[in-house]
């Protein structure tokens, strides 16, 4: 069941599916502050398997902090964050690593390893997580991932020789090589021209269809959100201020929300 709301203490309706596998990420009363800056005040959110969720909001409203909490890069102050039915706030490092294996994270900058070639960048997560993988299997996975993002010819060059769009695509290929169940995209189209942005947005859609991944997309690019998201939430003052489909929010009664879509 889906609805649009501008209620500050919004909580997605419906029964708790986290136990039967439909809800893959569930956030309850998440709070995070940096000194006196209360970035996340009370975030309540559930994300279903196979869903593409876009998160909008002004700069500095804690969108990136929110997805960094999901992979344990930022520690929560308070609240529950349940991923695949496990509350990650109380997990030990080893258990957290197991959860991270199922999550892919596309960083805003691509976060490519400059000292490695494109091939080595893709092999890195494979070597770290699948220690005993044969060389041939690794090669075929690397080639397949690069073909998926249209970068097969760039295999032996370094990331510094790639354009911004190619770096994003390579970052995506590196993230997808482990076939994660949840994909986190941190501003995937920022700094790209409209044509390349559309290519990246289409890639996000393709990935979702091909691997049935659950995606959380942090973006300021409304076109990207429109193209990729089944559902959009807007964060304001550290809470989920609104939620709904693109069309719902585009016609929101709240002028502040509508402003994002104009």
């Amino acid at each position: 069941m889906r609805r649009m709301t501008t209620n500050a203490t919004y909580m997605i309706t419906g029964h708790d599916d986290s136990q039967n596998g439909l809800v893959v990420v569930k956030m309850e009363h998440l709070k995070k502050s940096f000194g006196n800056n209360h970035v996340l005040r009370d975030i309540n959110l559930s994300i279903n398997k196979g869903e593409n969720l876009a998160i909008l909001g002004k700069s500095g409203t804690g969108k990136s902090v929110l997805i960094k909490c999901i992979v344990g890069l930022v520690e929560l102050d308070d609240g529950k964050l349940i991923i695949f039915g496990q509350d990650i706030s109380g997990l030990k490092n080893k258990e957290l690593i197991e959860i991270r294996k199922k999550i892919g994270y596309l960083f805003q900058s691509g976060a490519l390893y400059d000292s490695m070639t494109v091939r080595e960048n893709l092999e890195f997560p494979l070597r770290r997580q699948l220690h005993s993988m044969p060389k041939e299997k690794m090669n075929s996975l690397v080639k397949e991932s690069l073909e998926n993002v249209g970068l097969a010819e760039a295999i032996d060059i370094t990331p510094s020789e790639l354009s911004g769009g190619m770096r994003k695509r390579l970052g995506l290929a590196r993230t997808l090589i482990l076939k994660p169940e949840i994909m986190l995209y941190d501003e995937p189209t920022t700094g790209l021209d409209p044509v390349t942005s559309k290519e990246i947005s289409n890639l996000i859609l393709e990935v979702q269809k091909k691997y049935n991944t659950t995606s959380i997309i942090i973006t300021h690019d409304i076109e990207c959100a429109k193209l990729t998201a089944n559902r959009i939430i807007v964060i304001r003052d550290g809470i989920c201020a609104a939620e709904g489909s693109y069309t719902d929010l585009e016609h929101s009664a709240d002028g502040w929300i509508r402003a994002f879509f104009e």
Partner: protein, 274 residues
């Protein structure tokens, strides 16, 4: 009126002498020491814990050791040559010219070789580690590593500190040897001493207590350079400014640490010699 006077008095006190500034400088200094101590303890905790990053350690050893050979070699040769040329007139004044090879050898092996090599190593490798890790921090590469289920501290810091600790002593041995060849060239610029005579004089004059403490302290130099470079880079503030600051402060603090360790090493050595 009273408030206005207070404001004027405060304005007269230069900022560097104000209590708040010195307090915050002290606080900053102790926080830095505390943070570096925690970082060092974490290094010792991680270094013994499997999995071991042998491949990365080999790669870093190649980069820090092999790639520094030419620079260290040239510097060592020039030091040996210059030291010999500069010392010759003073030695000649006392009629002790024949002691020149022994004097230069002891000076190079005990002090000049390790310290100068460590300073060059701090400039090349320490700053490199600081800048590399800081830029990895800025571009979220360290976060990406963590997300890929890799312990970035073990992969980046432990390997770099270990490689610096192991490679500097080898580089110092190399620099000392090249320095002695430089000295041989210096002696032969204004004289004619055979290769055999020159080196037999050197080996006769050198004793265990000249070589061993000088070699041991280079491990500590290497450790300090690797650790401070890694600490500055790993904990750099976000932004490109942080990269420059990390590289700069890595060189400054590791060079300072080289002198401090050298001073302590000399004190300890002299205690045992007495």
């Amino acid at each position: 009126m009273q408030q206005s006077q207070n404001e004027n008095r405060e304005a007269e006190v230069p900022e560097i002498f104000s209590e708040t500034t010195s307090d915050s400088a002290f606080k900053k200094f102790f926080l830095e020491v505390y943070s570096l101590t925690i970082f060092t303890l974490r290094f010792f905790k991680e270094v013994f814990k499997p999995p071991y990053e042998f491949n990365e350690l080999m790669k870093q050893s190649f980069l820090t050791g092999y790639r520094s050979l030419s620079l260290i070699g040239i510097t060592g040769f020039i030091i040996g040559l210059v030291l010999t040329i500069q010392s010759r007139p003073a030695m000649a004044r006392f009629g002790a010219q024949s002691w020149l090879p022994a004097m230069v050898a002891v000076t190079i092996i005990r002090e000049i070789g390790p310290v100068i090599t460590a300073l060059i190593f701090a400039g090349k490798v320490g700053s490199g580690i600081g800048a590399e890790l800081a830029s990895m921090n800025v571009t979220e590469q360290i976060d990406a590593m963590q997300v890929s289920s890799t312990n970035p501290f073990k992969y980046l810091v432990v390997t770099r500190v270990l490689s610096a600790t192991l490679m500097l002593p080898l580089l110092v041995v190399f620099a000392d040897a090249i320095g002695l060849f430089g000295s041989f060239a210096g002696v032969n610029l204004k004289g004619n001493v055979s290769f055999h005579l020159f080196f037999s004089q050197i080996f006769q004059s050198l004793v265990f207590k000249d070589v061993f403490p000088a070699f041991v302290k280079t491990f500590f130099f290497g450790f300090a350079i690797g650790l401070i470079g890694s600490y500055k880079g790993y904990n750099s503030y976000k932004g490109t400014e942080g990269v420059g600051k990390a590289a700069n402060s890595a060189v400054v603090f590791s060079s300072l640490m080289v002198f401090i360790i050298d001073m302590i090493a000399v004190q300890i050595t002299s205690l045992f010699q007495n």
